[in-house]
Symmetry: C2
Subunit: 307 residues, 2 copies
């Protein structure tokens, strides 16, 4: 089944211990779309400037991504610059130029209204809510957010969370959103805000999914997927969005929505995140095969399953 | 089969967000011995002062720990004070009074020389090596160390590592020991120093075991065990030593030494670490049942295994 992602397209300038790249294609929606494209049909709503060329678009089209929802505005595409020279786990932002992204008003093509799955990447929660309300026929909505919205627009974010089925954020964001230091308690508080499930991303240590009692089946036990110990993390940019793409893409490819599907999806999220960081930008995500993906899924299984 | 632990006994003064305790029984050897006591026969070599009473000893004896190797010296027992008020993942040391521990010279009772498994808790690597050489009939030796020895006595530590089969340290110590930021690369460098396996403890995120190619069976894939998301971590003190006790104790309880045993041992390590932090000091480790331990092992399995 198809999935729609609404979020940013950006040109990133990145420095890591493995090297530097200037103005390479990035943005949450780009990473998400490429990762999800290995599992299901992906549609994309985003805004770009005049500098977004047909070569850029070809990266998405080559992976079968439906780019009709990419709006073109006069001006420059969103730009971000950051470095991971001291710490591969946390980006130090050098600059953020919102450009055309500043006035982003998602416009959903008519042809997209039958999409069954929706992912609201990290944008203004008011826009997220509007998209979700317009896409009122979706089977499941995933969402992301960040510390900026948690602190600046807490009320708007609370309204959006009521409309999201699965929220994907990291440890720090979870604790911040819940004002609670214990992760299981924070998770319970976040689930009380609306979502049926919460995926907490732990970076190099994987991710944990917490379920609201009774949601997606019986029980309330969490489930944890690992991340792969990677020889050389060349560029951590986009790891979280690639994780979300693998997670949501796998779910959209399945007929049923139950805990076993969500658990396997958590593994596929980890798999796609682990590929993303092996090369700069979206390089590794552009040329994978399903065979490579499933082989790594097996590796994740061997990494965690007792005989 | 029996296991001998050589390490510290201490009286700890601890402050955490859950409360304070003064001069409670602790020390690496104590936590290790109590955790391992649920799996196998435990013997202990340590030094204590005049202030170590029969009530203190009774805590160990009640769990069947052989305390004949606890040496008594004139003076006070090792004291440590620390707090976790800002960060449950890292102790801030308030004071360290080595007292009788400063001149600790491990004396191994004759009756202990037939012990099959050995754990060298975090003490001077020169003492660790001497104990290991004296216990030359052991089937397997586990060891711990810390940043202090890595930087102050690197050469002595290198010699000790040649005598250790499984080293258990944390992420930061692994990278420091190997002078390498990538964990898989650091692990390979540490394994080249001697150990057949390296257990890297990730605190609240569990632990990963890396194997030297061919050691304990075929293959070179690492294996990861989770930690349990704990509602309220009351006191993280001793979590790592309890982990080591569960890990080594389970191994000693098994007939064979192979990868499947070591993987399950990693889970049991996580299980004992997760119990340890639920109450102050050794409280929780004093009154467990094997049933509770195996139920939690099942929980760890459910937390990580796909259906």
């Amino acid at each position: 089944m198809s999935i729609l992602v609404v979020g940013s397209v950006a040109f990133d300038t990145i420095a890591t211990p493995s090297g530097k790249r200037e103005e390479i294609l990035g943005g949450a929606a780009t990473y998400f779309a490429l990762a999800a494209s290995y599992f299901t049909e992906v549609r994309m709503v985003a805004v770009v400037g005049d500098d977004f060329t047909s070569q850029h678009e070809a990266v998405l089209k080559k992976r079968g991504v439906d780019t009709r929802g990419i709006q073109r505005s006069a001006g420059k595409t969103f730009r971000w610059g950051g470095q991971y020279l001291d710490n591969l786990n946390e980006a130090k932002t050098d600059f953020t130029e919102l450009n055309v992204f500043e006035k982003f008003q998602p416009q959903i093509p008519d042809a997209y209204h039958d999409t069954q799955f929706l992912f609201l990447a990290n944008i203004d929660p008011t826009l997220q809510a509007a998209v979700r309300i317009e896409m009122d026929g979706v089977r499941m909505t995933g969402g992301d957010t960040m510390n900026f919205w948690i602190t600046k627009t807490p009320n708007e974010l609370r309204e959006t969370l009521k409309l999201v089925n699965v929220l994907l954020i990291n440890d720090v964001e979870t604790k911040m959103l819940a004002s609670e230091k214990s992760l299981p308690r924070a998770a319970r508080k976040v689930l009380a805000m609306g979502p049926q499930a919460l995926v907490v991303k732990h970076g190099e240590y994987g991710a944990t999914i917490f379920f609201k009692e009774g949601a997606f089946g019986i029980g309330s036990h969490p489930f944890r997927a690992p991340a792969l110990p990677i020889e050389e993390v060349k560029d951590p940019t986009g790891a979280g969005d690639s994780f979300a793409g693998g997670f949501m893409g796998y779910i959209a490819s399945q007929g049923e929505l139950n805990r076993e599907v969500l658990k396997r999806a958590l593994f596929y999220g980890g798999v796609m995140g682990s590929f993303a960081v092996e090369e700069f930008g979206t390089e590794r995500l552009q040329n994978l095969t399903r065979g490579e993906i499933d082989a790594r899924f097996q590796l994740f299984r061997e990494l965690t399953h007792l005989g």
